[in-house]
Amino acid sequence: MTADDLGRTAPHAVTVDLYRAVRLIRRFEERAIEFVRSGEIVGGIHPYLGQEAIAAAVCAALTSADVITSTHRGHGHVLARGADPGRMLAELMGRETGLNKGRGGSMHAADFSLGILGANAIVGAAASIATGAAWAYRQQGRDTVAVTFFGDGAMNEGMLLEALNLAALWQVPVLFVCENNGYATTMPVGSAVAGSITARARAFGMPAFTIDGQDPETVLKASTAAVARARSGKGPMFLECLTYRFDAHHTFEHRARLDYRSPGEVAAGRARDPVAIQGARLPERERAAVDSEVEAALDAAAEFALGSAHPDPADPLKYLYAVMP
């Protein structure tokens, strides 16, 4: 089986939906970066720019019964999974109306009502959490598949590697999505990963494929097949999605000027733009309509977030315990 055999071609509605999703993430991130610059978002963000196809398409392959876990670079996953952009932005601004009531911020955004079990600031941590959740839902007789997103850097974290083993061993319905953007912060994947990423997953007993992570429809095909396979009880699968981070590792880099990617490399990486790739599949007018729809939604989101109250500092550790005697 190769990744090509995995799926089907997308009908037009799906094409539009995918475009809307990548465009929403793109514009959300661009606006969020502005809010970092203006100081409305404190602490900065890890922009998802350039990787939109992966979140958008993988989440498009899921049903409402499914769950995901995300990473430090998580806005795309959370939005693609259907989180309200206003509440997401409010979270980034630390407002009481935020997804996490302002307690989590960029790296911890979660919406359990949508099966978003949380972004996670520790690289490699979420894979085993997703595996446990997927296993538990299966024990409960539910039809849930879990997707866990992570980067190329996470492939060197022991706890993630352990999770691959547990998932394969117990045939857990979980899809491992590795977003290989070529770098862990400033460390090139070639200097960090000996052997190969997919060989690792295969060595733990699960099928693994490398796909083009810049084309939303390629990602959709592959992930649809992987999710169907997991749902049917055939166990976990691993997708390495080749992608490129268009912007900084984190917005601190906008001030820091770290020298690790050549301008030529960045330009080449940015040339394969998932928003452009998907946009080219829509008639100009339809695309423009989606664009203004997205812009209107983000205007409303910004207005909502900016207008939202800050949490009351009187009880800063609210929610620390479910019960405390």
Partner: protein, 324 residues
Amino acid sequence: MPKLSYLKALNRALGDAMELDPSVFLLGEDIRVAASNLTAGLSSRFGPERVIDTPLSEQAFTNFATGAALAGMRPVIEFQIPSLLFLVFEQIANQAHKFSLMTGGQCKVPVTYVVPGSGSRTGWAGQHSDHPYTLFAHVGVKTVVPATPSDAYGLLVSAIRDDDPVVVFAPSAALGVRDDVDFSTLAPVPLGVGRVARSGRDVTVVALGHLLQDALVVADELAGVGISVEVFDPRTVYPFDVDGLAASVAKTRRLVVIDDSNRTSGFAAEVLALAAERFTLDAPPRRVTRPDGAVLPFALALDRAVQPGRDQLVAAINAVLEDQ
């Protein structure tokens, strides 16, 4: 009345909890054959889907339990040795513990972590003899160290029912303790409520886990020479029953803590700090602990010399009674 051992009480607590609540399941190494005896009989009683042997992947299976808890289960993890808690410290302190606040209360993580055999195991040496309950109390994870079979039962049941992560330390030296127990009286014991294990007038000794037995023996001995020792067992290290201790100390006005942690910033340090802040004492309080940085040496006499013991406790009690 039938005799119940501490280890058997823990086993009974697991069985009862699993019986009552189908969302409770067990994860750990060699728990189907029950190498530690903690889970004896449970695999055949509840089946291998609820008593799950894991590969040696402590970090992943600890997070796996967190994930299962997020999905509505109540996992109980057995750790074979106390230092495995070091290996999963991130997964407990930085993941399980933090999820509730970080998500703004969207979820809870009712995982119980049990170490049947914490502290010195007599001859297991440096990497198998830790007693790291203070570490969890310090980061704010609920931390339980039962001393008696009834409490072992009642506190473990409460830990499993609790909606937050809870670590339960079952000291190696307590596992064999046996009590006359009317099984019908076994019941949950709330977390955070200590008890006066022996009433006295002259000095309050705080002791938990296996050290409670030592404190009671010492209290008996000293009763013979006219010293009346009150023994207070906090049962949980965090939350700590400061009111219970305050009531005891208000009576005795003297305080000694015996604690199997290292001295610096150990459990005993917290009790002494509370005393310094809040209690009126007739003499400076004392603590009997492991020395700073303690690594338990293998040779038995050295291992014993590093652990807090009865002689030191007697000396500390005498000292606080002599001091003014």
